[in-house]
Symmetry: C2
Subunit: 478 residues, 2 copies
């Protein structure tokens, strides 16, 4: 999933228009720049941004193959009324466009290719310096993840005492922010990492605000928050692998109220011509995910079976972005076993939801994957990869909850995946219409799939291994 | 815990007065027999019962050492005004009296010896014939359990198709019950088994009604229910190891309403001179355990952490009598793994509650411990025995919930037992006033207790093994 060959723009790639303009005053505040892009009779209005050193940019992600034209608009004459055109080529084989909600509670890329989110979490990985960041990317290359939860702002928290390499705003020598002046180098670096993720087929689930802060980014005045959102969306929205997560633990950000978060959502929705996915993550109190600008439900919680209720309530995709992390920290949120995390992935899956990974093993240098990236040490990722392969061969329409006695999900009459959790029946009577089905016993921890001889139809009793934490998969025989 | 040497009555043993009376008519209905027992200035009124073949009995459990006298009363002259006396001797070493509520949410025997309920379940074990019943007793002799949930009535249910040896009421050849005539042989057999349990130090948690019925015992008219309760209490209350469980799954007994259950409780309370423990067990809808005649809370549920709420709400002891069974049945209630059952025992324990065992492994002859008894096949009983030993060396005042971040219970300033469940911290900072403490790492599955070198006081960080399902115990150094 390269964003597009150099000098060539492809469908869902990035067209980047750079213009020279005034560097005096405060271009971030004083200068408005944008463009109207046209494809045949259609017009798409896009905000541009100041990139420092007198350079203004308008970035655009064409969603059609063919000729696009544009006309800039600005309150500065030199940037106003500039026109041009370019040809959007067919996308590269790994470029399927941005991820959208599909089949109500699932996802697909814009070209219809199914997308099954298998996320991980490295909140502050882009603030660790190139050496560790490259190591993180190398780790991701061999890992099963296709979504990354990551913060725009640096992070101040336990195990996170280091200063970032870049700051998002200009700072004076005493560390005082000039919130009216962004630091282009900060954003250029962030963009590079988003492109790196795109090249690995990983969605960047960008967290726009968070409470873990010692620099003042969690307590900016409203106009600075709004300007930051508009600037960030103008810079990043053309990258097809961007998702907007309005916050991590929004309810712990004590400087903002619900009306603020509503306004932030609307700013992002209004500013993003491509309508990337939008959600918000909580600690204890959930933001109302029924609000129309929320595209999917982002959950912190350990009660994976409850995802069935969320799916039924919101009729949107549900992702347990944080169900606690594999690790050995003193803190409850950071020390569940690999077995328990794998179990939670399966519980969420057979409840019709999606689950995210994180890893928090104590490290003498405080390099914990969950925040800084680096290396993975745990035993869950390969099992999560095993689950991903199963899901990627499941129906494109996704797995919907179909059974609650033993949790099972699938597409009725075509595909069923049951997970038996702590239950260990030695036999079970299934009742599956529209057979015959082929059956497999799946061991999520041992990562084995054992075909059951014969085919199955209607009501039948199947012998099972009588071991806990197993699954059974039924696939319609064509 | 023998009930007392033959011919000799001891404190909390059974004085059994047998009198000859009329056998004609229906003595169960026509004849009232009782006695007033006196110890110094105190009087205790006790109901007697007809035991068939013209024999009437009044059973009495003296709770004081010394001379007791009695005077019978009856509506039949031959049974009225009979007097006598006997000497109650000091109890045998294993006889500590009946179990009472103590320290609000815990139990102790009447002599003050702590009692930690470690229950199991063989609902219909007394209906299987002597050979299997003796096998059950032999199994119990080597098992860790000191409470048995068992039904008075026989059981008709899946895996329970066999007829009982004895029926509680007279039946005609067509199987029609005469609900006005009890079958003394049925009750004599039940009493024998209650005495057998007493000899093993096991409390008989007698279930008076249940819904699993094909003989009509779940659908008797009110006067038959009331007479059955009075007769059963008159026969059995003198056995010190009896508890009254008004029902199993009361909410599935569709023939009775809440007012009926209230009345049943009051009949038992009014009829039992010794005030044995009383509770009632549910399927989905809980009976209101706040009612004054309920001595302790009997729970069906898998959410062991919720026991903290029950303890706080009712201020009575809480027993999870049914948290699902170790086994391999198709049914969810009968197939959790041994590991999961042991985990639930620990979760309940460190939440300030008690937990019961059951076992349901498929058997070609449908002999499942949970109902018929026989042999134990599982891996949880020995681990439950390991927990019992830990609890029996814990403070006599019981374990109260003291910590909810990681679940921990104990007696503040003296004793703490933390259980880490799926969490696997490699270190943790405890803060324990009133030290120093000795610490042990406890592995509930491997059944090991590893002493941690040194002693601990105040706030300190302890290295932990970084494995899930471990516990840490702190005991005050004297």
């Amino acid at each position: 999933m390269a964003l597009g060959a150099a000098g060539k723009v492809e469908r869902w790639g990035v067209f980047d228009l750079a213009l020279n303009g005034p560097a005096a005053g405060n271009p971030f505040v004083d200068v408005r720049i944008g463009a109207r892009f046209r494809y045949r009779s259609r017009a798409v209005d896009v905000d541009g941004f100041y990139d420092g050193a007198g350079i203004y940019r308008v970035r655009f992600m064409p969603d059609e193959i063919g000729e696009w034209s544009y006309t800039t608009s600005s309150n500065v004459a030199a940037l106003d009324g500039r026109t041009g055109s370019f040809e959007a080529a067919a996308p590269s084989p790994d470029n399927h466009g941005p991820v959208r909600v599909r089949y109500t509670t699932h996802f697909a890329y814009d070209d219809g290719t199914p997308y099954v989110p298998i996320g991980t979490t490295c909140y502050a990985w882009t603030h660790q310096g190139d050496r560790m960041e490259e190591q993180t990317l190398a780790t991701l290359r061999a890992a099963p993840f296709n979504k990354m939860r990551m913060c725009v702002f640096p992070k101040s928290y336990t195990y996170n005492a280091n200063e970032p390499v870049y700051y998002p705003f200009e700072r004076d020598p005493a560390g005082k922010n000039d919130l009216a002046r962004f630091n282009p180098a900060f954003f250029q670096h962030l963009e590079k990492r988003i492109r790196d993720l795109a090249a690995l087929g990983i969605q960047a689930d960008l967290i726009l605000f968070h409470p873990y802060d010692r620099w003042g980014y969690a307590a900016m005045p409203p106009e600075a928050n709004d300007r930051y959102l508009r600037y960030t969306v103008a810079r990043l929205a053309a990258y097809r692998n961007v998702w907007w997560s309005l916050a991590n633990e929004w309810d712990l950000v004590k400087t903002k109220n619900v009306a603020d978060w509503d306004r932030f959502f609307r700013i992002v929705e209004e500013s993003d011509p491509y309508q990337h996915l939008r959600s918000i993550h909580h600690s204890v109190v959930m933001y109302d995910h029924a609000k129309p600008w929320v595209t999917h439900v982002s959950i912190q919680g350990s009660d994976l079976e409850k995802s069935r209720e969320y799916v039924a309530q919101y009729r949107k995709p549900v992702i347990y972005d944080e169900c606690k992390y594999e690790g050995n920290l003193p803190q409850r949120w950071g020390n569940i076993s690999a077995q328990e995390l794998v179990r939670r992935f399966w519980l969420g899956t057979v409840s019709g939801a999606y689950v995210g990974h994180g890893e928090t093993y104590l490290d003498p240098n405080d390099v914990l994957w969950w925040s800084k990236g680096g290396l993975l040490h745990g035993e869950s990722p390969q099992r999560i990869g095993f689950l991903r392969k199963i899901l990627e061969t499941a129906p494109a329409e996704g797995l919907n909850s179909l059974s609650t006695y033993y949790l099972g999900a699938g597409q009725a009459g075509r595909y069923y995946l049951f997970y038996f959790d702590v239950n260990q029946p030695a036999e079970y009577t299934f009742d599956l219409a529209n057979g015959p089905y082929h059956a497999d016993i799946v061991d999520p921890w041992e990562m084995t799939i054992s075909s059951v001889p014969g085919t199955f139809s209607g009501k039948f009793t199947m012998k099972l291994p009588g071991k806990p934490f197993l699954a059974v998969r039924f696939e319609k025989v064509d």
